[in-house]
Symmetry: C3
Subunit: 428 residues, 3 copies
Amino acid sequence: MTQSLIAEILEPLESMRLIDPHTHINPLRAASSTLADILGYHYYTELAHSAGLPKSKIEEPGISAKEKVERLVPWLATIENTAQYSWLLEMCQVFFDFKGDRITEANWESLYDHSLQKMQSADWEQTVLDRSGLDQVFLTNDFDDPLQGFDTRKFVPCLRTDDLVFHLTQPSVRERLQRATGVSPGSSGSFKQAIGRLFDHFKARGVRACAISLPPDFSPSSVTASAADAVIAKVFCGSDLTSDETCVLSRFVFWSLAELCAEHRLPFDLMIGVNRRVYEHGVFQGQDLFDSRVSLIQYKALFNAFPSVVFPVSVLSETSNQELVSYSWIFPNVVTCGHWWYSNIPVYIERDTRGRLQAVPQTKQIGYYSDMYKLEFALPKFAMYRRILAKVLAEDFVIGRHWCVEKAVSLGKTVLRGNIEAVFGKSD
Amino acid sequence: MTQSLIAEILEPLESMRLIDPHTHINPLRAASSTLADILGYHYYTELAHSAGLPKSKIEEPGISAKEKVERLVPWLATIENTAQYSWLLEMCQVFFDFKGDRITEANWESLYDHSLQKMQSADWEQTVLDRSGLDQVFLTNDFDDPLQGFDTRKFVPCLRTDDLVFHLTQPSVRERLQRATGVSPGSSGSFKQAIGRLFDHFKARGVRACAISLPPDFSPSSVTASAADAVIAKVFCGSDLTSDETCVLSRFVFWSLAELCAEHRLPFDLMIGVNRRVYEHGVFQGQDLFDSRVSLIQYKALFNAFPSVVFPVSVLSETSNQELVSYSWIFPNVVTCGHWWYSNIPVYIERDTRGRLQAVPQTKQIGYYSDMYKLEFALPKFAMYRRILAKVLAEDFVIGRHWCVEKAVSLGKTVLRGNIEAVFGKSD
Amino acid sequence: MTQSLIAEILEPLESMRLIDPHTHINPLRAASSTLADILGYHYYTELAHSAGLPKSKIEEPGISAKEKVERLVPWLATIENTAQYSWLLEMCQVFFDFKGDRITEANWESLYDHSLQKMQSADWEQTVLDRSGLDQVFLTNDFDDPLQGFDTRKFVPCLRTDDLVFHLTQPSVRERLQRATGVSPGSSGSFKQAIGRLFDHFKARGVRACAISLPPDFSPSSVTASAADAVIAKVFCGSDLTSDETCVLSRFVFWSLAELCAEHRLPFDLMIGVNRRVYEHGVFQGQDLFDSRVSLIQYKALFNAFPSVVFPVSVLSETSNQELVSYSWIFPNVVTCGHWWYSNIPVYIERDTRGRLQAVPQTKQIGYYSDMYKLEFALPKFAMYRRILAKVLAEDFVIGRHWCVEKAVSLGKTVLRGNIEAVFGKSD
């Protein structure tokens, strides 16, 4: 009975058109060219490496796409239990007519060849978008991205600011900033002028959000103008900063971004909790982990100081979800956002979804984003989320609270799409 | 099959008479006078504010009860997914004959008027107590409460001590203490004499527990007499304390309270983990949050020093529940207590209940308290808890461990009521 | 339907032969002699004490085994809800023909007498091994254990190193080391030589793992040779160390053990998170608890420095499980291991199992160990685990991902046994 109820709720959710509010898509090459673009996703390379495949085999310079796939395939047997593998299988079944339930050394090559043929069709990108029901895909753009050559109504710019907040001590980042803005900051004022120009550029191209990922020990606060002046002058001279000065610099830049978000009425996506390069010898993008000892209390000053800025917050550790629920329940400007990375696994998604639907205003929940690098991933990831969402709606609302199916479906649509339009703005 | 089993277990639990071992009821005005007393509960004002209703609209001076409700009603649509809203609906359906499944701008006024009529009946308070099956309601009394004008067998005094432990640096708190006790403390000895008088006063009026809420960074320990003498003398002179001295003061007062609990054989309710005034511009009582980085190891010295004092412990963060389970499993004087505030949501109650029933002696679990401010809230809150309790008893004990229904019901009754009588004492 | 599916998956898992990869069995007295060996297990004495039985009654010198049981039995009523009690009941039913569903003051004596008769049979140990399906039982051996007098193919030595890392400041530990190795260390070099001899001794007797339990605040790192020389010289002179020096000593010894594990290709079991002697007046082995504020980021340097050493990691707090899942997903040398102590409770096992099966390569998961002190405990503990494992396989894989039963069973067998052989080596 529950299974058929879940199916009844799932059906209308599956026929919805989607907006994906956070991805790492390159809009100039949004879809995959070969199966290596899919199997080369860090979720597979890092799992295969974790299971025993040397990094040197995966990242050997000069190997062809087909050889890369051939090297990864034997390791798939070790990870076929994972949710990540289930996405792979679903992609191959839906997009590439794969009929098996395992990708093996015996069948991978025909899959490779057949998928290649599909991906080489001229309209592959649009085919994927259509089959996935995607209306819009939000991007993660470097601050100096020219934002040229693509349709910003389909691929929506978002200003990623990690480099500005955490890597301004690197000469290359400062040079990129100077080149992009024409400003050589010597004080906090001219620095703000520089990043103001970035916002102007992004606003002119339809930016919908400013975004950043943050380490567990970061705690934003305002910085006095004189302290800011001192570190800006010092870093743009090329002098080395002490660790205290680096911390002041990060806080100043972050706070300045929040001020610009307020000025430009732009949501500021906070992705809280990642430690970078924990496994230094890991594969590309497979080196980051986290420390669950983090609290949203670290963001108290920020949430209080910027009541007009909406903060869609993602947390990396599932132990942070109840704090996220509670802070969103209390702060008007805090919104729950998606299921990020190590928490993007059914067991955590289900429980986090329950907590949010039971205690946060329904208008303050961004249900899901794919975080994808290639367009094909939206389909299985959103499919996973919708199945869990339908299960929670069936169990907690229709069975648990005697809601009718229509009302439960409506709640599902609100968190799946309605709130994305409300928070980030409708497409033009 | 599971649903009918749950129903079979639920029925006897629902027909039980209840004791509510922690509330904020004012015994002189225990029941609501208008719907504004219900909708004005911070759970609704803070959620409506979080969803977008300005604090200035909610707390505008001089607005009538009816106007307050009128302003809140349009925002209920944004929170109808929440567990908190489900309590509201159940109260309106049970107490005020409300037939709808949504309170809207179209139907609120007739609900308001009809409920007003009900609440104006002379025996409304007793009607609510009877309909809710409440035998006793524990209070949260200020240390200088005269405890007069109500039946202490029905409304049971509990001595709330936050002001003494954390706010003695405020002149008004010291004045209240001096007025209530006739003592002007100049040393640790005379201070203990003063609070001893508070205990005498409360004991004479049938007090059943001492209680306090504690911030995540508090760690009780004993203080030397000389250090205590110094801070007591200084604070009662009206001098400002350093933050170290304030910490010594809090620890000394807290430890002295534990000593008095031992002397008077009184349980000491610890409600661990709240950060006050995190959202400074939030609505009344809607400003507090928490930091999940807290551990019961901070209470090691306390639990060891007072083996004769029973500590019913509530934790605010669900990430603390396994520690609570484990500390109650090991320490004879630690008892699990209810599901507090941000953890009083079905998803967390269910899991926390599972952990406790699976690993803590059944005699050491206080199942639930309502934490209510108005009497009508006990009914939907206890109803929510009992449904979850019945589900856990059905799934984990009858199905999972092949218990008969009677045995499962008996376990349910023990945590719902029996242990409250055992821990806090039977009514006279 | 789900229940019959679970039963279908459970059946082949229950008929498997087992290896128990972590126990505290004394191979010279592996099975129980009386019911007091079972009820004297700290899980029962600490729960009875927690429920109210004084430690002085439990640990009174000179009481007979039968009297000890007689004193504990009346308290079983208070803990019959616990998972721990369910193990007791299952042991009595399976091994001692107990027919009841409660052990009471009325029936305990006949159970005692009947079980005594059983346990006195000459082949009791083998009977228990056979009935439990146990092929091998891993031990926890003191570093100076002679490892004589038992069959190391059945009872597999593991080198426990807590004493070396944390208690070398005790003269008795240093004396034991000198006696066991013939080395009187005066420098880091001679100390390494000494523990190298321990490894040689254990290797000669078929050791399969080095193991240690670690407090939440431990963070391994390498130590310079000069710093190591200084603390080794000082501690072996019998001088008292400062707390900083004690920390250096622990880190140096720990790091040296990891180096020897690398050299001898031995897995290093890390059991992370226990605080010892939190409840100082608790019963024997019932004094330890934990602090959930711990992170695997503390092991970053270790995991990076020893890529060739496999670290089967157990975490004490369930809030650490997602970190364990994620670190095992990224680091090739980190393996999830069992459900330890306060997390060895169905509600936590189920969720932790879900997280691991959904996101960690199936080859990197040690499903379960019993942690038992007496041989009879393996049966009910593994039975509990297998029931949960079958439930997760049924719900998440057969229903959730449309796997066939055979594939789900195969995954179950891999985590239950296959990986133990792969990680620790097959028996000879």
